[in-house]
């Protein structure tokens, strides 16, 4: 029986954790089997949760979020017969699969769309916790924006420096309002459930928002330009399907692997023009073919554009 451990933002953050949840649900629906899940309430609980599931014989055990990294490093050796899957971090243990995504590529695509949809030439980015991973989103996004409109301004804000930054919608909406005040008319939120506040403020103020991880277009139809899809659900689904003998090692999911994409559906089809689709799909093909390389912030902790 597999198990799934969610991080602090909670299973229903409509974003990162919810994507994982959807993957698990899909697996459960298709196989008719059951799995266990638990949401973290505090930093200190991570270890107990992993151990409890391992003790109870759950296998594989998937967890969402880089914050499990150091705990897993510790726990995994104690349960050599259990397979662990960690998303967004690399843990070098023989029984661990580490899944990381090429978020910069997807962010690049939605950045392009943002620049094309913007009237003011100013777009915004609200990140969650200020960590390299989120800077990777921001940097990819900025590159995409500049690729379309070199004069565009990208306003960037991070919500905080602790995991609480993933779950602070009030702060998200205040930051969004501040960016709108500075002229932003498209805002990309990469901040877990904090992003819900960002998107809410964008909708309230009548500008466009861009969702992240899950397809968030349905949240505010008419006010959601698109969502940058990070297929955590696929990662979880795959892991559960492979079951107790999944292959450990590092898995990188990008545009090529369909691990990353942008969302196009009934909720945003009126906002996305033919021209946008053409441009973005062209860029996507180029990235997949290697003709276009989007700089990965985490490769050298710098970003070529601002």
């Amino acid at each position: 029986e597999p198990a799934l451990v969610f991080d602090l933002g909670g299973k229903f953050d409509k974003s990162f954790n919810e994507a994982a949840h959807n993957g698990g649900q899909r697996w459960a629906n298709e196989t008719g089997e059951d799995y266990r899940e638990i949401e973290m309430q505090s930093e200190a609980q991570r270890e107990q949760a992993l151990r409890r599931f391992a003790e109870a014989g759950m296998n594989p055990i998937a967890m969402t979020g880089f914050a499990f990294g150091s705990v897993l490093e510790e726990v995994a050796p104690d349960y050599p017969d259990t397979r662990f899957v960690i998303i967004d971090a690399v843990v070098d243990q023989p029984n661990v699969r580490s899944v990381v995504f090429s978020e910069h590529e997807g962010s690049y695509l939605v950045g392009m769309m943002a620049a094309m949809a913007s009237d003011t030439g100013t777009v915004g980015f609200v990140g969650g916790m200020d960590i390299p991973l989120i800077r990777k989103f921001a940097c990819g996004y900025a590159q995409g924006v500049k690729a379309v409109n070199a004069d565009a301004t990208v306003i960037q804000n991070m919500t905080g420096t602790t995991p609480a930054a993933w779950a602070d919608p009030v702060k998200g909406s205040e930051l969004a309002r501040a960016q709108i005040g500075q002229g932003a008319d498209v805002i990309y939120a990469a901040a877990g459930s904090t992003g819900l506040g960002v998107l809410q403020a964008a909708a309230d103020e009548g500008i466009l928002g861009i969702g992240v991880d899950s397809n968030q277009n349905y949240l505010h139809p008419g006010h959601m330009l698109t969502s940058m899809l990070k297929r955590v659900d696929v990662a979880v689904y795959d892991a559960f399907t492979e079951g107790a003998d999944l292959a450990p090692g590092v898995q990188v999911l990008g545009l090529a692997e369909n691990g990353i994409d942008y969302a196009l559906d009934a909720y945003n089809e009126d906002l996305v023009t033919e021209e946008m689709i053409a441009a973005v799909d062209a860029a996507k093909a180029q990235i997949i073919s290697g003709a276009l390389v989007v700089h990965d912030y985490m490769s050298d902790n710098t970003c070529p554009v601002q």
């Binding site: 309430q41 200190a44 107990q48 150091s70 602790t162």
Partner: protein, 364 residues
């Protein structure tokens, strides 16, 4: 003439309050469509059905013994210390600093150092509210609440800006060195032939907590300082009459209280996580209030109440795992225990007192 026999005061009343609290909790469980009997069964097997369960129960109980004693000691001086949370947070900071400062060769050396550091940091965090209460009359309840928040911000700052190792995304300190890892109950009990779960975090700190119970008992009922603390708590004018200096006693009682709360960090930071993370205290400071109220501020009572809450915590975690009863159910139980044993004490007490008076009259 006594209104009520002592056993009724120390046993019967807390018991009735506890039953009321549990009965209401059961109602809540029924109301959300779960089976309370099954819930209890799950909690008992989860918390007491294996050495793994026991290991977590005892681990939580260790935390609660420290915070419960902290509240109890202060309460003997009629100081309501709601600052256990902040003091334990600072205790954690002390433990982390000392563990990371030196290449400790053996836990036997690191442990006393950590105990001292945590106690000092905890006491220091209690010292300012204590001093303000003693000399300026600032209400200690309010100041300790404020200090909990300030401690949170301070820890946040330290972990994010100062103690986070280079290159780490986690706002947490580095792993403590090998030489500071405390033996768990598994290692402690192995020599005497007991095979205790390796995975559970209960560790030697439990023994320190038990020793703290005995020491607090001696302090309160066998020493001059304890005598003075109790005297001041019962009557400040009388204390002044007797030449007991209120400022000194308020300070000392709070320092001891803060030190006890701080020492909790030896268990959770050094014994369990082996690094310092955000919100490591996880509300144990507040549970200390419930524990002290239940335990009637007596170390033995605190020990029993801490075990009870350890059981509730571990059992509650299990509940959350295997049923759809969220972990917050424990918070509800905790609230009800505080409500009935603390705030609604008279609701239980008054009818009992009347009953005992009537019995007394009947006999006389």
């Amino acid at each position: 003439m006594e209104r009520m026999p002592k056993w009724a005061d120390v046993l019967l009343i807390p018991l009735i309050s506890l039953i009321l609290a549990f009965a209401l909790s059961a109602l809540v469980i029924v109301a959300i469509g779960e089976d309370p009997v099954n819930a209890v069964r799950l909690m008992v097997t989860g918390a007491l059905g294996s050495t793994y369960g026991w290991g977590y129960t005892l681990y939580y109980a260790t935390n609660f013994i420290f915070t419960g004693l902290a509240v109890a000691v202060a309460f003997h001086a009629r100081l309501f210390n709601i600052g256990g949370e902040g003091q334990a947070t600072l205790g954690g900071l002390g433990v982390a600093l000392i563990c990371l400062a030196l290449p400790w060769p053996h836990w036997g050396l690191a442990l006393p150092a950590a105990v001292i550091a945590s106690a000092l940091f905890g006491a220091a965090w209690a010292a300012i509210p204590a001093w303000l209460q003693a000399t300026r009359g600032s209400h200690i309840v309010i100041t300790t609440i404020m200090f909990n928040f300030i401690a949170g911000a301070l820890l946040n700052y330290m972990l994010v800006n100062v103690m986070r190792p280079m290159g780490s995304m986690d706002p947490a300190t580095a792993k403590f060195p090998e030489g500071t890892n405390l033996p768990t109950l598994h290692e402690v009990l192995a020599p005497i032939g007991i095979n205790f779960s390796k995975a559970a975090p209960a560790n030697v700190t439990l023994l320190i907590a038990l020793a703290a119970c005995v020491l607090v008992w001696l302090l309160i009922w066998r020493t001059r300082l304890g005598y003075e603390i109790r005297a001041l708590g019962q009557s400040a004018p009388a204390a002044v009459y007797a030449g007991i200096r209120p400022v000194r006693i308020v300070m000392l009682a709070m320092l001891v209280s803060g030190a006890l709360a701080g020492m909790m960090a030896v268990n959770n930071v050094m014994g369990e996580a082996e690094r310092l993370v955000l919100n490591a205290v996880e509300g144990a400071g507040f549970i200390g209030i419930a524990v002290a109220l239940m335990g009637r501020n007596h170390p033995f009572g605190v020990l029993l109440a801490a075990l009870l809450f350890g059981f509730l915590y571990q059992g509650g975690a299990e509940l959350a795992l295997w049923t759809s009863i969220p972990r917050e159910m424990i918070v509800v139980i905790q609230a009800l225990v505080i409500l009935f044993t603390g705030a609604l004490d008279n609701m239980v007490r008054a009818p009992l007192e009347r009953a005992f008076m009537a019995i007394g009259r009947g006999r006389g």
